[in-house]
Amino acid sequence: MISDTADDAAVVAAIRDGDIDAFEILVRRHTPAVYAHALRFFGEPSTADDVTQEVFVKVYRSLATFDERSRFTTWLYRVTRNTCLDEARARGRRPVPVDPFDTPTVGADFADEVALSLAIEHAMRALPPDDRDALSAIAVFGLSYPEAGIALGVPAGTVKSRVFRARKALSLSLGIGGGDR
């Protein structure tokens, strides 16, 4: 039985050898990232819950098509993003709209972690989708700029710009950053 500290490539190999229990390692390891992306997309926990399940079911069914020359997280991110888009498009699950001006500001006060997390989640949801997707790929799924570029179908430089733009927007909406000089 494969160890739960094995890297994704080893776990995928074990699953392909018929070890369904190994798939649980991937599920436990990556559910937080998939759920976080889905929640920021839809803004609704029960929808995020459903979509997260759909993502892993699709991953399990199509693991045979995963090309091991790319990282598992790159492929997982692509499946997650496309599943969110499919669910919104084909099944009519629309993201809950959010007013960016409603984002609570935290200023320099990071003491209240709960408030900070809530404010960040709200601000994330208010980001333009392209910028939010790029930031999610880098910060949540841990992709590099080139990997995110492949997953998003844009040059790595575009990913870099979108990530930076997202962070600038968050800085302003959270009331943390000052103006530029």
């Binding site: 649980e24 892993f56 079911v57 045979a64 880098i138 910060a139 700029y145 870099k160 943390i176």
Partner: protein, 367 residues
């Protein structure tokens, strides 16, 4: 160095991107001295330290429960074909025992009315000879199955949904057509009498239906018309699909039935008829590939790229695809960038007529 440059460099360094060491040092110095950039750095710190909303603690357990349940269903469906085969063998064994018991009975005293004609006795003796017994039992089991199917056909009244040439095939008692709900009352359904009179060409024109697709575990199946030859005993539920069997009717979840043959599955229509669907495959470079798709909500929908495949933004497959054969880049066959055809191929719109008008994804057949 201005604020934007400094912040961009620090942002990229945070993402472990290669950054010139001297530039990074300069950027950090700028940020220490600049209030605005200090605020930006604090944002980066806050984003990194704050945890994203955690999923429900039991979500991984529920995911695995669902995976294991689907896995068990797949195994059960596969075993169903084995069980059905065993049942046929059991029927054959029963037949063999019956025939053997006839062999063992003492021959009744010959009379003018009860004497078994010698020709039939000789035929039975030859049929149950060890060399011929297997073939005899197979024919006996097949005969029993045919009798069962004919009985179901005559009682259940298999009806036609649509066929490739519109002329029907085996005699039918009713005609089922794929047409808009509003047209159903307007157009009289064409029908055949039991004498087998064919529907007129005018009837065919009003009931002609488009081809339809369903998806089973991302594999695409195309409608092949009603099938009255299927061994009903061997049918098991192998999956389900969300679709609408008539244009305009709501999408519902329907069981997909199978006999263990991955190339043909069935859906039971509302009137009890069995509609057959054939798996869409194609050859490429000597290998058989199976068409994959995301959800198809109605039978008139077309296959689409599964969620795992990034749709290219350009007609030449870029940026997510590259030609499967660099020596023939215009063939319309692509692979996901960085992979090869052994993982799967993507066909350009129109490259495979039977797959619909969109980009399509195909994986090597495993069975």
């Amino acid at each position: 160095m201005d604020c934007t440059d400094a912040q961009q460099i620090v942002s990229a360094a945070l993402d472990r991107e290669p950054v010139d060491t001297d530039l990074l040092t300069e950027a950090k110095d700028h940020c220490r001295r600049c209030e605005a950039c200090t605020g930006f750095i604090r944002t980066l710190v806050a984003l990194k330290s704050a945890s994203a909303a955690a999923p429900p603690a039991d979500l991984p357990d529920r995911i695995m429960a669902r995976i294991r349940a689907e896995d068990a269903e797949s195994i059960q469906a596969a075993n169903g074909a084995v069980v059905a085969s065993s049942q046929r063998e059991a029927t054959a064994s029963e037949t063999a025992r019956l025939l053997a018991s006839l062999e063992a009975q003492p021959e009744p005293e010959a009379t003018a009315t009860s004497r078994v004609p010698s020709g039939i006795a000789a035929l039975m003796e030859r049929a149950m000879h060890p060399r011929n017994r297997r073939a005899t039992l197979t024919w006996a089991a097949t005969a029993a199955a045919v009798i069962a199917v004919v009985s179901v056909v005559s009682v259940g009244g298999i009806s036609r949904m649509f066929s490739a040439d519109g002329t029907g095939g085996a005699p039918m008692t009713t005609q089922y057509t794929l047409q808009p709900e509003s047209a159903k009352t307007a157009a009289a359904p064409s029908s055949r009498s039991d004498s087998g009179a064919a529907a007129t060409s005018a009837d065919m024109a009003t009931t002609a239906a488009p081809s339809g697709f369903i998806v089973l575990s991302e594999a695409v199946y195309a409608a092949a018309g009603p099938d009255s030859t299927v061994n009903l005993q061997g049918l098991k539920v192998v999956g389900s699909t969300n679709t609408a069997l008539t244009v305009g009717s709501p999408t519902t979840t329907l069981d997909i039935l199978g006999t263990g043959d991955p190339n043909r599955v069935y859906i039971a229509a509302a009137d009890g008829s069995l509609l057959a669907f054939d798996r869409i495959t194609r050859l490429y470079a000597g290998r058989t590939y199976v068409l994959q798709s995301g959800p198809i909500e109605t039978l008139t929908g077309n296959p689409s790229l599964p969620a795992s495949i990034e749709r290219p933004t350009n007609s030449d497959g870029t940026p997510s695809l590259e030609p499967a054969n660099p020596a023939d880049p215009d063939a319309g066959v692509y692979v996901v960038k960085g992979s090869d055809a052994s993982s799967g191929i993507v066909l350009a719109p129109g490259a495979e007529a039977k797959a619909g008008p969109d980009w399509t994804y195909w994986i090597p057949a495993r069975n």
